[in-house]
Homo-oligomer: 140 residues x 4
């Protein structure tokens, strides 16, 4: 059995393109966003904070990207996921480090693999989600 | 394009005046408060803890001020804000570092800019809010 | 007395230009760097991690930028600064949060103000310093 | 045997006077200081950060005050104290949480009791020490 495996992960060049696309989308929508892209290991690859985004957004954007990359699903799906799962709803927020269970984080899926994640923060999570989606689509 | 921008932020002298006004208001109301004022970046500018305020109030006052300054709205508005937003209610407390979603924190708004924040802790949040409001009004 | 003052801080647009210039310089030198630019308050504005940079560099780059911006001097000067100051040498590393006292961090000085800082990590600090210097010079 | 004891601790009113005196002394010396006063339990009573003091000084001032109050001796004495005590020199900085072993922190001694501590940060520790001493003397 081969002792190694290949982990598909987003390149830094692509991560930066996604951040650029997110800035463009946020600016067009009048949003002041912090945007983070993490790799397949959930570790930060690229980040930017537009002027005027609150300091809190620095952490939230990174945690959304980490949440999305690690679990391979949009952060906005956690709410539905937990609605009929009371133990999880009670324990996951606060219990799972850096879990952000509202919108604005998306996994970056390529060829069926979650190769990273993007997190956007600064506006309401519905707005953050739109920015993240636009950024993902831009590199599609 | 100019590489710098000017960020308006509260002076330490004004921050100390706000703390003094809060102490006066708290004493008049029979409250024992911890009071923090942060600048536009959410970083501590002035703080005092009246005798008898619990040690927990040291942190809560600072976090209220940070929450208010960063998001530019009173901490007491988070509850209404989240009532019909179940994902945010599920994730924001605990998920956003140092978020205090009950009353006692107010942004300091001058000429339309959030130039800092005040946080008061030590009593019930309804009382803390009154102290914070009195302090803001005193320097109006 | 006016209750606010204006703090000059680097724009996110300029921060991103500095990061881009650092990536170019690092690539030319065969370095795999993480690069962080913080604003005048020491808060993250822009970040990128080139493929192959170690995960540790994510934190070190940010801490170098924070150290340089806060104290307004290159991180590489801390060693000389402490050589004949035994108490500081004993206490500063470890005692001052996020202090990185070796090269790779530079303040960003414009019109005499420390408006931010850059931190580079991934190579030896002598190499990191060269990348940071090249990035600063590129936007001069 | 009486189940309680009386812990002498500095009042918040006195703590604020010390902070005020420190601001006056720092301004006279051209220093931009963060100043913290803690009570006998080492918990923050009063704090101010003069405009232009680095963000790092927020933490260092508080840790100096905590160090001085807890051990009842000036932070500047730790260096001599450890010089001929290699195990302590090796382990105390970094091993003891929040220990700052260079100047700028002084215990507040009244009637032979360490009733609190002051910490000053923002300049070199020799300057910080002078500000702390002036503040203590002012309320003498």
């Amino acid at each position: 059995m081969a002792p190694i495996r290949q982990v598909p992960t987003i390149t830094n060049a692509a991560a930066r393109q996604i951040v650029d696309a997110a800035v463009t989308a946020a600016a067009a929508a009048g949003q002041r966003s912090a945007i983070a892209v993490v790799d397949a290991a959930g570790q930060l690859s690229a980040f930017t904070r537009m002027d005027g985004a609150p300091p809190q957004a620095i952490q939230i954007a990174q945690d959304k990207a980490y949440t999305a990359a690690g679990f391979g699903m949009p952060t906005g799906q956690w709410h539905d996921f937990m609605t009929n799962d009371s133990p999880l709803a009670m324990g996951a927020p606060g219990g799972i480090a850096r879990l952000i269970p509202f919108g604005g984080g998306l996994p970056i899926i390529i060829d069926g693999h979650a190769v990273g994640g993007i997190g956007v923060s600064g506006g309401h999570w519905t707005d953050d989600t739109k920015v993240a989606e636009a950024a993902i689509n831009a590199i599609g």
